[in-house]
Symmetry: C2
Subunit: 164 residues, 2 copies
């Protein structure tokens, strides 16, 4: 007999609680530069590629505009970036780093090493784990889109060119 499913069996709970555990490790590091974790993610995206649209940031982070708009406004209020409506298409809002926004990239540079150390694991193991989790997320996104009882297949409107 399989037995009643308890918390112990839930992979989702493992992800949920480990995500929170990560946040607790990040917090003191991010407090030092005045960012929350989601704000840090947005800044990381912009450090990689500046001048993205709100929607593009949302696509990268899998977050809705209803989440991002207030968050980005807070970053603007903190003087780290600027929001400007695109002159070509005024529906779109382009997000650009300020000098100060670029400057704190250096302050944040030490964070990944701190996090790596906190995991106490080898980078190879962590990357392997990340690969497995990414694969799982892709599966779940498929399922969430395709939704109902299995048989109906939804054609994705856009091909997802995804990394590992």
């Amino acid at each position: 007999m399989p037995g009643a499913p308890t918390l112990e069996h839930f992979l989702c709970f493992a992800l949920y609680s480990t995500s929170h555990a990560f946040n607790r490790v990040y917090k003191p590091l991010l407090d030092a530069i005045g960012l929350t974790y989601p704000q840090y993610l947005v800044m990381t995206v912009l450090w990689e590629q500046d001048g993205l649209l709100v929607g593009q940031i949302g696509e990268k982070l899998a977050l809705e505009s209803s989440t991002l708009t207030p968050l980005i406004k807070r970053l603007e209020a903190a003087g780290l970036l600027q929001r400007t409506r695109d002159t070509k298409d005024e529906r779109q809002v382009r997000v650009t780093l300020t000098p100060r926004g670029r400057a704190i990239k250096a302050q944040a540079a030490s964070i990944p090493a701190c996090i790596l150390e906190a995991t106490g694991q080898a980078p190879e193991q962590l990357m392997r784990l990340k690969g497995d989790i990414d694969a799982l997320r892709n599966q779940l996104e498929q399922a969430a889109q395709g939704g109902r009882s299995g048989s109906s297949r939804v054609i994705t409107p856009r091909e997802e060119t995804e990394h590992g």
Copy 2:
């Protein structure tokens, strides 16, 4: 050469976004029984062992009383459980399922199988993944706890170049 850390490299982001992806798969299933995911977790804990204290639930879920108290009050308002102050120690609040709270356990019984199907992976692989994630969480909790008195503090940006 390691290069600048981008979003692609972040295990934490993989966890963060996959946790949200799980939530999106759960949502339609939980909507049917009127629960949110954290509420479902609390109910799962109580289905396993009824009559726990708020603090004991918090320990199992790694959540603070400031999160749990309002959540549990909502479950009480929904008629799924009852909060009673312990007569021996009136600081403590014991949480007990109502008949209705026990009843929806049957309705929720089909959820794990739905989730398993949504992952599209073999249970053995998922359990292996869960094991790795649990180990990671334990490490992170160690780091978050021992962070103050431990050996590692925030590394200055200068010495970051060594770490990849």
